[in-house]
């Protein structure tokens, strides 16, 4: 039979759509550039923008499924006011005017009485420079975004050590690295650059090593997978350090030029100055020069003593940082043999890995023929680099020992001379920043109708910067920046609702949330969180009286709010990816970006940022109104262009100045957004080759960064092996100084505020003591690549890929327990149990179980029918995670890192118990199905999406 080719109608050159607009993706947090093709006003196709510095034309599985998130039937359609009890889902639709007036009246009353009674927390939000500024203008210290339960350990560990961090503030040198080791990187941050980079490394024959309890995603393509036991990465890293020191394989030159290794530390056990840096009368740290004795450590021609006790001019004794560091890690306690069992990695393998990285760093350095000038004004003919790069993420961050583990990893980088050198990990401009980057957090002295001055989320340098009352009581509702978590740089969202319900340290009036699913997968112990949201006092009033929530979708949190301010999708709004917040800069230079509306909302919804700016004006917050009290900004776009945080510095750095010729600093340019749009909705500045590396000590880079407003001073940023702020907290805990912690926290602060990285057993596990043996498995989660960090896994396409999650168990261990694939089991922790279906796996550390996070949904939510597998078979490990540490003497403490307050999701230990046969088939707990709010459209039973089809 002849074929049908002759009659097949093929439109070879049909235009993709009738219009294409650039904007920035928001299907996860990576902020890739996209081109959105439209046809008849509908989204035809979303592709990566080839010109964009983040993704260079590629687009991941989530970004490519954006159409289904944009058009999801779970989109809220109008403002809602609760009319039934919380959780009932009984709302009535109201007008925006009524919604705004309701919110304004609630907030105005709070601001007039006590602004602290507003707790304003946002989730995976990318406008924290606006939301934080708004909170400070309101006058409440109770503000943060989701970093406290995400990866603040990485941010704080990095910013207090090297002045940058993994992911957002740094990246591997993909062009020159020859050895790449990643720790605890699930499938994630940052999505497309990691995938592009790993492909380049592998094409070049560089070795890729993944340290991770689970072999999926990036670990699957690594040349070597190191299946470490969760929570022991710090110990493993310290054993690598032990080996490098033992063999003398460290970069002495790098250490004495760029780190505080030669700085002198006062040795005066029991004294108020013990462990602080010896300083001259100008406050400059001292080092001991072999010829000249104790002199300022920044001398260009310093020839420092690295080991040995010295006497200072004032008679005190001191030792160099290097000696204190080396002595600690040379201790046999850190020898590979000593840590092997605990880490689950044989000693000989640790030793081999240490030798491998040393061999690449020191025997195969990269030398680029680029002359450059250091901070001392000395010209170097080339750039010599150590091509060993590291990357780390939540796997080491989400433990209660994650801050120190992260610091240990940065120490390893410093010993190898592998910070911002060719082939190593590099800063993403505008980083590095000074260490720590700025003044302490605002939040003391909150007064009615008065803004707080300064940033709410900032950088304590010592006890004087903590947000505590004279008796040590936390000032913030989440206890961030208190003695419980002195460096809680991103706040502690995970403890807000529990503390608010308990009135610890005080009751709040209004809880204002944006894009944070606290009644489900964003909470440790969601059912307890729901209990807190619905708890009533003796008079029958809710103990958290008002809950305002903004979300674009019917998430599990919607039914627990009193007032819903429906947000737009990411394709319907302006946004600003700002240098003031979380920019998209790279090692090649600073960059920022915008989102522009590419389609008009077809519902009665408004972009949250615009709503917030209008609320600011209605409340009369000084920065949001003109002198006559009228709104200062028309909308968010107007704010992005005209807001100035400091003279000449605004949300966007590109095309500033009246004629658009200035970058970084310059007066507002009314035409700025048009310039961004013409350039694909991003701005980038290219660093010259000679300012591209050694940025912490590169004179040209530092001077140019200062001129662009990226840095306050063009001074060397000395990397901090030894962290003096931590020692200051420890000294206070030992009784020194006027600002004292409560007694119940003294021992904890002394133990954990170590100025050098330490490893300790995760807090919850240590607190369980002997009881821990009943829970033999570590339990961790990851998110799958197709849903990583995405808001809206109800996406019609993505849920076909991941519609229900199973519990992954080592095949050998499962077989020994008589458990087979697809069996149902109880996952039990001391806090409760959750039922799951089992999958077996070879590539998992045998004492670890894991699952995909945030697949499980509450029945009825997200406009899925209650029979959806997300609700019947999908489960959350969150149900067996406690938000508090086991009870001990004194007030309860968050299940978190004791330095940063990072939620310790991955400290969980569980046991696996086979279900009775009649229990199989569905997950538990399975709370009552949620009722949809009014206004949701009907769900199609067949989706025939075709943007080209006339409607």
């Amino acid at each position: 039979m002849p074929d049908g080719s002759a009659t097949d109608r093929i439109a070879y050159s049909a235009p993709i759509g009738d219009e294409v607009k650039t904007t920035t993706c928001y299907m996860c947090a990576c902020r890739c550039g996209i081109r959105v093709h439209l046809k008849d006003g509908r989204v035809r196709y979303i592709e990566g923008n080839p010109d964009h510095p983040v993704n260079r034309g590629v687009l991941c599985g989530k970004g490519s499924a954006g159409i289904m998130t944009h058009y999801a039937p779970a989109r809220l359609t109008a403002p809602l006011l609760r009319v039934g009890p919380r959780g009932s889902g009984e709302f009535r639709e109201i007008s925006w005017e009524e919604a705004m007036e309701t919110a304004t009246s609630w907030l105005r009353e709070v601001r007039e009485r006590d602004p602290r009674r507003l707790a304003f927390f946002t989730g995976r939000d990318q406008s924290q420079s606006l939301t934080g500024f708004w909170a400070a203008q309101f006058g409440t210290p109770n503000f943060a975004a989701h970093g406290g339960f995400c990866s603040v350990n990485m941010a704080a560990g990095g910013l207090y050590t090297v002045g940058g961090s993994f992911w957002e503030f740094g990246e591997p040198d993909w062009e020159h690295a020859r050895y790449f080791m990643m720790f605890g990187v699930a499938e994630d941050h940052d999505s497309n650059p990691m995938k592009l980079g790993i492909a380049r490394l592998k094409a070049r024959g560089a070795k890729v090593v993944s340290v991770n309890p689970v072999r999926t995603g990036y670990s699957a393509v690594a040349d070597e997978w190191v299946g470490i036991r969760p929570g022991t990465d710090g110990l493993f890293i310290m054993a690598l350090i032990h080996e490098l020191l033992r063999e003398g394989r460290v970069d002495d030159q790098f250490l004495i030029r760029y780190t505080n290794a030669p700085w002198l530390v006062v040795q005066n056990a029991g004294g108020a100055d013990h462990g602080l840096f010896a300083r001259d009368d100008q406050g400059r740290p001292l080092a001991f020069d072999r010829a000249r004795g104790a002199i300022a450590a920044d001398a260009a021609d310093l020839s420092p003593l690295l080991v040995g006790e010295v006497t200072l001019p004032d008679g005190r004794r001191a030792r160099p940082v290097f000696e204190l560091m080396a002595a600690r890690y040379l201790d046999p306690a850190y020898a590979p043999e000593a840590v092997a069992d605990r880490c689950g990695i044989p000693a000989h393998r640790i030793r081999r890995l240490a030798r491998e990285m040393a061999s690449i760093a020191f025997d195969q350095p990269v030398e680029l023929p680029i002359p450059w000038t250091d901070v001392w004004g000395r010209r170097h003919p080339t750039m010599l680099g150590r091509p060993v790069a590291f990357h780390a993420m939540r796997g080491i961050s989400a433990h209660s020992n994650g801050f120190h583990t992260c610091r240990a990893l940065h120490l390893l980088q410093m010993l190898l001379g592998a910070v911002d050198t060719p082939g190593s990990w590099r800063y993403k401009s505008p980083f590095p920043r000074p260490i720590p980057p700025g003044p302490g957090p605002a939040g003391k002295g909150s007064r009615p109708n008065t803004p707080l001055s300064g940033n709410i989320l900032a950088f304590p340098q010592g006890p004087e910067d903590l947000l505590v009352e004279p008796d040590g009581t936390p000032i913030r509702i989440d206890h961030a920046f208190s003695w419980e978590a002195p460096l809680a740089l991103h706040g502690m969202m995970h403890s807000v609702i529990g503390n608010a319900a308990r009135g610890d340290p005080y009751r709040i009036e209004v809880l204002f949330l944006f894009m944070a699913n606290m009644a489900w997968n964003s909470a440790m112990n969601p059912l307890e969180t729901i209990r807190c949201l619905t708890a009533r006092d003796a008079s029958g009033e809710y103990v958290i009286p008002r809950v305002i929530y903004s979300d674009a979708y019917f998430s599990e949190t919607v039914p627990y709010a009193d007032l819903i301010l429906p947000d737009t999708t990411y394709l319907e709004r302006w946004d600003c990816i700002s240098l003031l917040d979380r920019p998209i800069g790279s090692a090649h230079g600073p960059a920022d970006a915008i989102r522009q509306p590419v389609v008009k909302p077809d519902r009665d919804v408004r972009p949250f940022q615009e709503v917030l700016i209008e609320l600011g004006a209605r409340l009369g917050l000084p920065a949001f109104v003109k002198e006559d009290g009228s709104p200062r900004y028309r909308d968010y776009a107007d704010y992005m262009v005209h807001h100035e945080r400091a003279p000449g510095i605004g949300p966007l750095a590109g095309w500033r100045g009246a004629d658009g010729t200035k970058h970084g600093v310059g007066e507002p340019n009314p035409d700025q957004l048009r310039r961004y749009i013409e350039n694909g909705c991003f701005w980038r500045h290219h660093l010259a080759p000679e300012e591209s590396y050694f940025k912490h000590a590169n004179r040209l880079y530092l001077e140019n960064a200062k001129a662009m407003g990226l840095l306050g001073k063009a001074e060397q940023i000395v990397l901090q092996i030894y962290s003096e702020p931590l020692q200051k907290f420890r000294l206070a805990a030992e009784g020194h100084g006027p600002i004292q912690p409560p007694d119940h926290l003294r021992a904890r602060l002394i133990a954990y505020c170590d100025p050098l990285p330490i490893w300790y057993e995760p807090l919850e596990q240590a607190a369980q003591g002997e009881g821990l043996q009943a829970y033999p498995f570590s339990a961790v989660t990851q998110r799958p690549m197709a849903m990583y960090h995405s808001w809206g896994s109800m996406n019609a396409w993505l849920r076909q890929i991941h519609g229900a999650n199973k519990l992954y168990l080592s095949r050998a261990r499962a077989e020994a327990m008589g458990i087979a694939a697809d069996d149902w089991v109880w996952v039990e922790s001391p806090h409760g149990r959750v039922k799951a279906q089992v999958a077996l796996m070879e590539g998992v550390q045998p004492d670890t179980v894991w699952t995909w996070n945030a697949i499980g949904k509450r029945a009825g939510a997200w406009a899925l029918t209650p029979d959806a597998p997300e609700a019947t078979r999908g489960f959350l490990l969150n149900h067996v995670i406690s938000e508090w540490l086991p009870a001990q003497a004194g007030p309860r403490l968050a299940n978190a890192d004791p330095i940063t307050g990072q939620a310790a999701w991955y400290d969980l230990r569980v046991r696996i118990v086979a279900c009775a046969p009649e229990e199989a088939g569905a997950t538990e707990p399975r709370p009552e199905p949620l009722s949809p709010p009014p206004g949701l459209p009907p769900r199609p039973s067949i989706l025939r999406y075709n943007a080209g089809q006339p409607r």
Binding site: M1, D3, S5, T7, D8, A11, S13, R44, E47, P50, G57, G61, G63, A65, P73, E187, K195, L196, I198, A199, K202, K207, G217, A220, V221, D223, R246, E247, G248, R249, I256, A300, D301, L302, S303, V307, G308, A326, A327, L330, A358, F362, M785, A786, M794, A796, W797, R799, Q800, I801, M841, A863, P869, P940, S941, L943, R944, Y945, G948, Q949
Partner: protein, 248 residues
């Protein structure tokens, strides 16, 4: 049964080369294919029960992840699967109406849905599971190699590749003429030892898979370079730095 075009020497054989060494299983190829094609030549790619139990749609690209080998010695493999545009496609020869056909000019296997009767014989015949039945329209659909992209003069030339290739973040997908031994894809296949899938079945698939590279060997760490005594001879390695004269 439908006849195949007479094979011509030097004929174009457009196809994909998929690198299993760098595929991280992110599903970008699958969803980008879906979004392109649901409004493209074979539109729509319907989804049944999109918001309830039993969600199942038409996908031209699917990624399967599995493990090979045991314990740490094993590996996790992500395997993207789509039509291989065989030279001897049983899905074509089995077709009773001529709807399924192989193009002479570039080797792409297509379905003319106007004459497809939805009998699904082609799906039975294809050993690779590449056929996707659109139950809603009652016709068979499949990968077109993005025929409405690769010749599309309204798209910049560099982007005239299938959507799955353009979007792949791991750069694990390549497109070109596998009939031309000098093409970039043919050279890549030669260099990396690309393989055809189940060639023993005789359908002569055009697409090739690049096997995982040999794991990068451990770099030779060599003996310690420190000129001093061997580490084992040093009781206290700290002493190494006591008299070491260093200067900036």
């Amino acid at each position: 049964m439908t006849s195949l075009p007479e094979p011509q020497p030097g004929a174009k054989k457009l196809g994909l080369v998929i690198d299993l060494d760098t595929c991280v299983g992110c599903h970008a190829c699958a969803t980008n294919c879906k979004e392109w094609n649901t409004s493209g030549h074979m539109a729509p790619l319907p989804d049944h029960n999109p918001y309830s139990a039993g969600a199942e749609g038409v996908w031209f690209n699917r990624v399967h992840s599995y493990e090979a080998g045991e314990g740490e010695a094993g590996r996790t493999v992500h395997f993207p699967r789509s039509c291989l545009h065989c030279e001897q496609p049983a899905c074509v020869t089995v077709c009773p109406t001529g709807a399924s056909y192989k193009r002479a000019e570039d080797g792409i296997v297509l379905v003319n849905t106007d004459i497809c009767i939805g009998c699904q014989l082609c799906a039975w015949a294809c050993p690779y599971g590449a056929r996707e039945f659109d139950e809603d329209a009652g016709v068979m659909k499949k990968c077109t190699l993005c025929i409405d992209r690769i010749y599309n003069e309204t798209i910049p030339e560099a982007q005239r590749v299938p959507a799955c290739v353009a979007t792949c973040p791991a750069q694990a997908r390549h497109f070109g003429d596998l009939g031309d031994p000098d093409s970039a894809v043919s050279k890549l296949v030669a260099e990396r030892g690309g393989i055809a899938l189940m060639p023993e079945l005789g359908y002569a698939p055009v697409n090739r898979y690049l096997p995982p590279r040999r794991r990068a060997p451990a770099p030779d760490p060599g003996p310690p370079r420190d000129p001093g005594p061997l580490p084992s001879q040093i009781k206290n390695p700290l002493l190494r730095w006591v008299d070491k004269v260093l200067s900036r």
